[in-house]
Subunit: 222 residues, 2 copies
DNA sequence: ATCATTTTTTACAATTTTATTACAAAAACA
DNA sequence: TGTTTTTGTAATAAAATTGTAAAAAATGAT
């Protein structure tokens, strides 16, 4: 189920939105300020954010900027809420990377429609991104992130990681890995796989031990 | 000057909008039904369309659908007008690809502000100038500037650069580049791409290393 | 046809990646 | 526990890939 974070300081409006989105079948998380929102985002990674850009404390625009600059969260679509009068806020928001906007007062049906459209768009994009326990792989850009830090892998290391990520918790023998990643036919004796696993683990730093070796069997990501 | 087509059957409202948009400096074309609108669109290709979705005859939604499915016109931003009561029309309109909406009755200031936002967005897309980290390409004049200094590229170098600029951060294999820029079908073995990348990098001087090579994968602009 | 320019190919150097090896460490086995 | 097998990994050798200058081929204008 899609998780939607609402960042809105006006209690009445926030609760109204929450009520309607829950009714529409979404999993709703409410935050009444941008600081708390950041914590929620870190913890639960919502699928979409509804953000009022006029708020006391950390400004909505600042939060937006923060999000759109982070590789981990930049893909989350953001709908900004703005007072009808302040068109300049909308322009600023859109320039910072907001995906859509809605002006107060607005109808809940329209909001839900916008959410549906954005979530659909997002899914198309997100298909090339794999995440597992803090490891993010962007298949299109050939990039790997540990939390927010990019690391550089060689081609085979990348392939190996992607293979594991695509089949988490599944055990593979060395010859299975050889045939799937290297395209070798036979159960040739070689230490190639071990060697690559070793260097991959090293580059994955603290996440390296997610690749476990099962003696006499093979390797698993777990 | 930007041409805006107003499709609205109520004379009073249409003329009111027309008056205000003219005052705001737009070139206004009025149409009182969707059928005529189609002809206008074909003939003058407006820069933006304001469309009432509740009209006799050919429905506004049908016109919208037609437009958004046509590759020739799908880029024209559409603002739909709807009675506040019929939210379902707005929802339908947004799903069909409308870019924004406004509910009756509305203030002309708000309408003009929305138009400004959409035209700005559109211009960014339609603009024949691409800029990326100090590299400016004028597609119309076939000119390239580094910072503000013009450099001369050959045809293929230019095409290659434009291709990269149109898909920044996306990785392309050599055969993808060959097929997209050269129009070659197969994964022919040739060093042509490398050779062009090399000379392009050289001409891009300090920006040359924006084109990165990913060993065993291809090239990216990043 | 000739000349200038652009594009492709070639050849070789430089770089990067990959596979192997060797030995240490850990695990399995008896 | 001692021995054997398996795994971890640094170092090195081998292979593959990439960079690029220069030659060859193609293109196009005069």
């Amino acid at each position: 189920m899609n998780k939607i974070l609402i960042v809105e300081d006006e209690d009445a409006l926030r609760e109204l939105i929450a009520f309607n989105l829950t009714k529409a079948g979404y999993d709703v998380i409410e935050s009444e300020n941008a600081n708390d929102a950041l914590i929620f985002i870190e913890e639960i990674t919502p699928d979409l954010i509804i953000l009022d850009i006029m708020m006391p404390g950390l400004k909505g625009t600042q939060l937006l900027q923060l999000l759109k600059r982070s590789p981990k969260f930049s893909h989350i679509p953001v709908i900004i809420i703005s007072a009808r009068s302040s068109e300049s806020d909308i322009v600023e928001g859109l320039e910072l990377g907001a995906d859509d906007y809605i002006t107060k007062p607005f109808s809940m049906k329209v909001l839900v429609a916008k959410i549906k459209i954005l979530l659909r768009k997002k899914q198309e994009k997100t298909e090339n991104i794999i995440e597992y326990k803090g490891i993010i792989v962007d298949l299109e850009k050939y990039k790997v992130f540990l939390n927010n830090k990019e690391i550089t892998l060689t081609y085979k290391e990348f392939e190996l990681l992607v293979f594991f990520l695509k089949h988490p918790k599944k055990v593979f023998s060395r010859s299975q890995l050889l045939s799937n990643i290297w395209g070798y036919d036979a159960d040739i004796f070689t230490r190639t796989v071990d060697s690559h696993v070793s260097s991959l683990r090293k580059k994955l730093e603290d996440k390296g031990n997610l690749i476990k070796s099962l003696p006499k069997v093979g390797y698993v990501l777990d």
